[in-house]
């Protein structure tokens, strides 16, 4: 019993699987980004090679930094994202540990990496890291609300707070996912903010504040942070796939369901890469303006639409 649980948590579909999947999606993202720019892009083993190289290097902790917080925050971030993955339905309607209300838990677990980056950057005591961490938190005020509202409006239509029940609901009514398309657009753009990708990569703006939060990290800690970012992308994409495109999950635990899951996640990653390619980076005040002026009204609209439909369709 314990052995089986440990296998599920640590190997498949737990830590090892999600790490490898994270590296693979980083490769896909970089390759698509490069091909869109008419370049060749890295070979398939590049993210793995980067990880191994970083693990082999020395950690340097700045002498003014708080050593305990500096070294502990990457681990917090990594644990949070892997735990979030364990609550997501992947290719079966039930995740490993589903319960009612787990959609809120997943969203909260996804907030922890942002706070961890803020704490890690702040305790680095380097000017660039502090600026980056403050921007990280400011950015959170902008994208968090649209992201939550977009995802929760789909839950409102299904009249449940459990991901497993949502999948069952949408499985029972095949075409209802079409009503959530504006919410999907909102959640996709807000996810760009959470993952800190262009146009919202303000906390990590290379040309302005060197590397932002990650400036002082090196060696194994940086490897853990980069792995956290990759897994965060997988978790975000899988969350979007399970909430907005919940088909193919009723087929049971078969290889076909697994393939459908992988294809869905890769499609969302491809959309994220495309968004990354065609726009420039915004300034922090412009980003907050944009999110509150355009994303939030659209999310509110989606929420109202779903409330009305709920009343109309399921009397």
């Amino acid at each position: 019993m314990i052995g089986e649980q440990l296998f599920l948590i640590l190997i498949f579909p737990g830590f090892l699987f999600v790490s490898i999947f994270g590296l693979a999606t980083q490769f896909m993202d970089r390759k698509i980004y490069a091909r869109l720019q008419n370049r060749v892009g890295p070979p398939w083993f590049q993210p793995l090679a980067d990880l191994i190289k970083l693990l082999a290097k020395e950690d340097i902790v700045p002498c003014d930094a708080n050593r305990a917080m500096f070294t502990a925050t990457p681990l917090f971030a990594l644990t949070a994202v892997v735990s979030a993955f364990l609550y997501l339905p992947l290719w079966t309607p039930h995740s490993l540990y589903s319960f009612s209300g787990d959609i809120i838990v997943v969203l909260y677990l996804l907030t922890i990496p942002t706070l961890a980056f803020f704490i890690g950057g702040w305790y680095s005591t380097s000017l660039f890291a502090r600026l980056g961490s403050v921007r990280c938190l400011t950015q959170m005020f902008a994208y968090e609300v649209p992201l939550f509202m977009g995802i929760l409006s789909a839950a409102v239509l299904a009249n449940t707070w459990s991901l497993a029940d949502m999948v069952h609901f949408y499985g029972a009514h095949p075409w209802y996912w079409m009503f959530n398309i504006p919410g999907f657009a909102v959640a996709l753009v807000a996810l760009l903010g959470k993952l800190e990708k262009v146009p919202f990569d303000i906390p990590e703006a290379e040309t302005e504040i060197v590397a932002g939060v990650f400036t002082e990290y090196s060696g194994r800690l940086l490897a853990i942070l980069k792995l956290t970012l990759d897994i965060e992308m997988v978790v975000g994409a899988a969350l979007l796939a399970c909430v907005f495109f919940p088909f193919g999950m009723e087929l049971g635990s078969s290889p076909l369901a697994f393939v459908v899951f992988v294809l869905k996640v890769l499609a969302i990653i491809a959309m994220l890469s495309l968004c990354r390619t065609i726009v420039a980076r915004l300034r922090i005040d412009q980003m907050i303006n944009f999110c509150w002026k355009y994303l939030v009204p659209l999310a509110i609209l989606q929420l109202l639409l779903n409330l009305i439909l709920k009343g109309v369709l399921t009397p």
């Binding site: 000017l127 600026l131 146009p199 990569d201 040309t207 302005e208 420039a280 980076r281 915004l282």
Partner: protein
């Protein structure tokens, strides 16, 4: 009582935003810039001094390497000054070839700038595309002059190579390709929302401020200052070619982008005219090795603005004094003014918008006495003996080290 929110952040000398080392020390309050301290001199190589110890022919190649992007500008400016002292009248074909290479260099420099500006605002796609299209110009320049940068086409008395009709055809074909691509970039630059939002209202320099701070080149022309050395003091073949001087009223980084993009279109026009109207004839006149005594000022419209070279000769094979004033030195004073009350995020693009080339800029350094309060100007031999005696007082004797270095070079 020091304000807790204020702190000083060093941008440079090493920073991902800057392509070359220079020191900007920003005083920040939150994300707002309260003040800027500029410190230059990290790229000083002693070129002006080195020019005095080499003959004019050797100096050509040294001056060319002041900067990689505007190398032809520096070389032509220097050669124009020397030819004026020597009283040489270079053939017309040489003038046209110099103009052709100069405009091709302007095309390559502006495309490079567009890519760098895209990178500074986080738009890497623009960087990749403009630099891919820049390869067309680099290949043409390699075929015409023999190298992709540092063309080495000038010599005292004219140019070193001639252009064949086949090469002329290649140049015209390349211009067609580039014109189409530039039209696309003009569309993207003026219509893509995120670019316009990042570039508008940033780095504002009014016309009065531009005139007072002596800004030159596209930086000034974007503020409405209608001045271009090619039209107002023609050199090479510009007196016989027709082109427009582009000015713009936006006074900000967006205006500078528009000015540079439209200047690209004008360059294509000039290149086509130069190729079509190229007169026949020799490409060089014989120049003496010993240039008679005199002094002259050469001016040239480099891609970044007005480039000025002062050459003083004394009848020998080596010049007595060469002074280079690059356009970036004139524009860097305006950066302080432009960054007032702006955000930190605007800093890279404002600096990039003056198209800085700090290799061009660093010519003279001023040393500060630590123990005396007065300033004095000392000449080179005094400085040298002072330096040797100071190091000897610290226990370092250079004579032995010099001998070791010579032995190592000989091996």
């Amino acid at each position: 009582m020091p304000d807790k929110n204020k702190f000083k952040i060093p941008i440079g000398p090493q920073h991902p935003a800057l392509k070359e080392p220079e020191g900007f020390s920003l005083a920040l309050k939150g994300e707002k810039i309260m003040g800027v301290d500029i410190r230059l001199g990290y790229n000083h190589r002693g070129i002006e001094k080195a020019c005095e110890e080499r003959t004019y022919i050797q100096d050509l190649y040294l001056i060319e390497r002041v900067c990689g992007i505007c190398s032809h500008s520096h070389s032509t400016c220097f050669v124009q000054a020397v030819e004026e002292i020597a009283g040489l009248d270079i053939p017309k074909r040489a003038r046209y070839i110099r103009t052709l290479i100069g405009e091709l260099e302007r095309v390559h420099s502006h495309l490079l700038w567009l890519g760098v500006a895209g990178h500074e605002i986080g738009f890497d796609t623009l960087l990749m595309y403009t630099w891919r299209d820049r390869e067309v110009v680099m290949d043409i320049l390699a075929a015409l002059t023999g190298n992709r940068v540092n063309y080495g086409i000038n010599t005292i008395g004219g140019v070193r190579r001639d252009i064949t009709p086949d090469q002329c055809k290649d140049v015209l074909a390349a211009m067609d390709i580039l014109e189409e691509r530039t039209k696309y970039y003009i569309e993207v630059g003026t219509q893509e929302t995120t670019i316009v939002k990042r570039l508008s209202g940033v780095g504002v320099l009014s016309k009065e401020a531009a005139l007072k701070l002596d800004a030159v080149g596209p930086t000034a022309r974007a503020s409405g200052v209608d001045y271009d050395v090619r039209r107002d003091d023609p050199y090479a073949a510009y007196g016989e070619l027709s082109f427009d001087v582009i000015t713009d009223d936006h006074c900000d980084v967006y205006g500078r982008t528009v000015v540079r993009l439209k200047e690209l279109m004008e360059s294509y026009k000039i290149i086509r005219q130069a190729v079509k109207n190229m007169p026949d004839g020799p490409v060089t006149v014989r120049a003496p090795r010993k240039i008679p005594a005199g002094e002259a000022l050469g001016r040239y419209e480099a891609p970044r603005g007005e480039d000025v070279h002062f050459v003083k000769s004394n009848g020998t094979e080596k010049p007595e004094r060469v002074k280079v004033r690059a356009p970036t030195l004139a524009n860097v004073q305006a950066v302080k003014h432009m960054l007032k009350d702006r955000f930190l995020a605007d800093m890279p693009i404002v600096v990039a918008a003056i198209d800085p080339c700090f290799s061009c800029t660093d010519r003279a350094i001023s040393l500060r006495h630590t123990d005396k309060n007065k300033k004095e100007i000392i000449d080179w031999p005094t400085l040298r003996t002072y330096g040797i005696s100071w190091y000897k007082s610290q226990g370092i004797d250079f004579a032995g080290l010099n001998k070791q270095l010579l032995e190592r070079i000989k091996q």
